[in-house]
């Protein structure tokens, strides 16, 4: 960032730092790698100021202020960590911990699922000092195969409600009641399928406690091995969303949206999020097949199949000329497949008898 883009400065933990007009204290602090804890914050959403964990000391103010909702103003003197705010944060985390049935949830639950547990450990908040009322009633009755709705682990941060409205524009999730009675729900309180939910999975990925979880990934949590993440592009429509495929050994255990994906910036749809298990499906072709004299297709090795295929194509060409062969490239395979298909037709046969599947 160059200085021209910066409008004024504040003092952050004793250091003078430049600020762009409109930035919140949290955003400035984040830019300077300060570790301010949050639970209701998702950088893609409007600041909400519900969890109060991001409080910081503002010189001249009697009480700490929420850094996510307070705009930085010229000359502010901010302390991101003091004995007082750390004590506040610990008490808040102890209260949060008292509210939920489980503090530790499987990492397969979703992208942000470890946020609460991580902070509970950081603030040593498993003290059990508070015996909280448990808020939220889970919905094990919802038979949908994608989204776990375990509201007994909900802390009412409303990230799911807000991501559904602000990011996805579906407004499928709403809030009923207040305080310990707070319940995340849908219109008419039914199953997700009967609501405006499109099963894009964004609520799962922003949930910081695992109250909402990825059921397909959770079903694969016992597959042994180290989880590896591979960045690629979704195999469905032409939007080109970036995803991180989660694998253990040779099995895909889930899909995470890439928050820095240029086309999607963290968004996905039901297909990109959940329709991945065609890859290891038993129906996959494992061997080349050639049609036998019995009229059926039989598995064989590559040499046999490639020779049969080459002979068939070559035979048509020898008998009827090079214009007797036509190639159709895929709109689903990578560039290299389409390029090689047209190269075979053009460099091999010298014709333009090549197309792809875009006309139908």
């Amino acid at each position: 960032m160059t200085d021209q883009n910066l409008d004024f400065s504040i003092t952050l933990d004793g250091e003078k730092v430049a600020v762009r007009r409109g930035e919140t204290i949290y955003e400035v602090a984040e830019r300077h790698r300060k570790e301010i804890p949050t639970l209701c914050y998702d950088p893609r959403l409007e600041p909400f100021g519900a969890c109060r964990l991001c409080i910081v000391e503002l010189e001249g103010a009697r009480n700490p202020v929420a850094s996510c909702t307070t705009r930085a103003e010229a000359g502010m003197k901010i302390t991101t960590r003091s004995a007082r705010v750390e004590m506040h944060r610990r008490v808040l985390m102890e209260m949060v911990a008292s509210e939920n049935r489980d503090l530790d949830v499987p990492v397969e639950s979703g992208y942000a699922s470890q946020e609460m547990a991580t902070l509970i450990d950081r603030y040593d908040a498993r003290s059990g000092r508070f015996i909280g009322e448990k808020s939220g009633a889970s919905r094990p009755d919802d038979p949908n195969p994608f989204i776990l709705r375990d509201y007994e682990n909900c802390i009412s941060c409303y990230r799911c409600v807000r991501v559904c409205a602000e990011q996805e524009g579906d407004y499928a999730i709403s809030i009923m009641n207040r305080g310990f009675e707070t319940q995340i729900t849908t219109e008419f309180g039914g199953h997700l399928k009967e609501s405006a939910c499109t099963f894009c999975g964004q609520c799962i990925q922003t949930c910081p406690t695992g109250a909402l979880g990825d059921l397909k990934s959770l079903a694969r949590k016992d597959i042994p091995g180290e989880t590896e993440s591979t960045r690629t592009i979704c195999p469905y429509c032409g939007v080109g969303c970036s995803v991180d495929i989660q694998t253990r050994g040779d099995q895909i255990v889930g899909i995470l949206p890439a928050m820095d994906g240029p086309a999607n910036e963290g968004a996905l749809c039901v297909k990109g999020q959940f329709a991945f298990d065609f890859v290891g499906h038993p129906d996959r072709l494992k061997d080349p097949l050639v049609r036998g004299e019995d009229g059926e297709l039989h598995p064989t090795d590559w040499d046999t199949a490639l020779d049969r295929a080459a002979d068939g194509l070559r035979g048509a060409m020898d008998e009827h000329g090079r214009h007797a062969i036509y190639g159709v490239a895929s709109g689903r395979a990578p560039h290299e497949a389409a390029y090689m298909m047209q190269r075979l037709i053009r460099a091999g046969l010298g014709t333009n008898q090549i197309d792809n599947c875009s006309r139908a």
Partner: protein, 525 residues
Amino acid sequence: MSNPLVDMEKPDVIFCIGTNMTECHPVAATRIKRAIAKGAKLIVADPRKIPLAEMADLYLPLRVGSDAALLLGMAHVIAREGLADEEFMAARTTEQAEFLEHVAEYPPEWAESISGVDAKLIEEAAKWYGAADRGAIYYTLGITEHICGVDNVQSLCNLALMTGNIGREGTGINPMRGQNNIQGAGDCGALPNNYAGFQPVTDPANQAKFAAVYGRETDLELGPTKVQALDMCGDRIRAMLIDGENTVVTDPDRKHCEHALKSLDALVVIDIFLTETAALADVVLPATAWAETDGVCANTERRVQRLRKAVDPPGQARPDWWILNELARRMGFDGFEFESAKEIFNELCSLSPIYAGLDWDRIEHGEYQWPVPEEGHPGTPILHQEEFVNGRGIFQMITYRDPAETIDHEYPVWLTTGRRLASYHTRTQTGRSEGIDYLLPEETLEVNPGDVADWGLEHGGWAKLSSPRGSVQIKVEATDRSPRGTVFASFSFNNVPVNFLTGGGYDPVTDTAELKVCPVRVEPV
């Protein structure tokens, strides 16, 4: 797309026509929803009351296949109301005087008589788009899958040219591409008229350029399109090599298509499943799937991105490029010694002016949108900023034509086909992913509740759907999404093979099938 996806949040007027974006490009649609939340106005033209139409500030329920008439009516109003951008037209276009004269012939009342859309709504839409500071057009196959698909696209270009809504942030003509690498297949030269990078095969200079690398000259004549090739099967075409396309289910007029493929001396199919098409082949070659293959793809905004291998393929499956390289070698062709996807992609970049500034390593983070004419070039998120590829934008004098087949006494109902959110194309992938069936277990025919009653159908009951080419049985769903006299089904389910019915006509320029219009008869079963 002329403009990047991020621009979808920037227009003040958005005009969506023939695009069911919330179902077919859901993540792109989230950007439109955000634009609306920020105050953008949304105009939606579609025969069906799709979810996007429910969100629209102005909904134009046009009769299937009448887009060109609607767009002529809009151009008329923009000209009449003085909303045309004279400065832009003078600086950037040709034929503008002739165009303004041409559209003067087509008032909105005329457009209403063809499209069925109230002339007042057409006027309103024209005024909104015409007066927009940033007006952006988004379309999909609802525009192109007609016998007048090219006319429809050019009609949209005319609107953008006459209002100067092109070449700037938050504007543009933006087709949403439907498959993860359908843009890339064209970029790579898998087209009968162009080498890689859209270099015409009819230009001897291109012939010489490619011959120098490929080791032989390629014909200067255009090849037939796939549609024409299917017509030639058993005659001039004796063998076909098909990679990853379930032709018999996706293409129109299934009976004709199956007959064509069966009449070949040799059919070789490369795929990941034994699709309905692969089942007809003499040889089926197993390819690696998504998540098993290293490679490159290009999205709808021309962004060139890396695909990466995460798991090993099953059994003997191999990458498509390896299979094609081996096949070429065994057919006796020289110059097929490729050993990696990287080597192939780099050859493509060396031959394609729009990829000239790219190579395998440079696209690691996916920040480039083509054209990238030389190394160090930042890419081109917005096309046509200073000038058009051909210099000036040329207005086209489009007139309205009826669809290839129109409703009559025997086939009195319009059928239009499309896709649904939870299933993808012929369900080879989504149909084999757990849970998808919970959302979409079967295909249904969407019929207006009034028509359900009038035609003696029942919600949840069965109907027979017939066209001159065949008939299928399908379950009936009564819904207001369908207007009176128009029904909808997707072609995703092989047990409801709707493409036995379609195929009445093709665009004379592109050979794109008129999959969006098919007169049918609907009878209770």
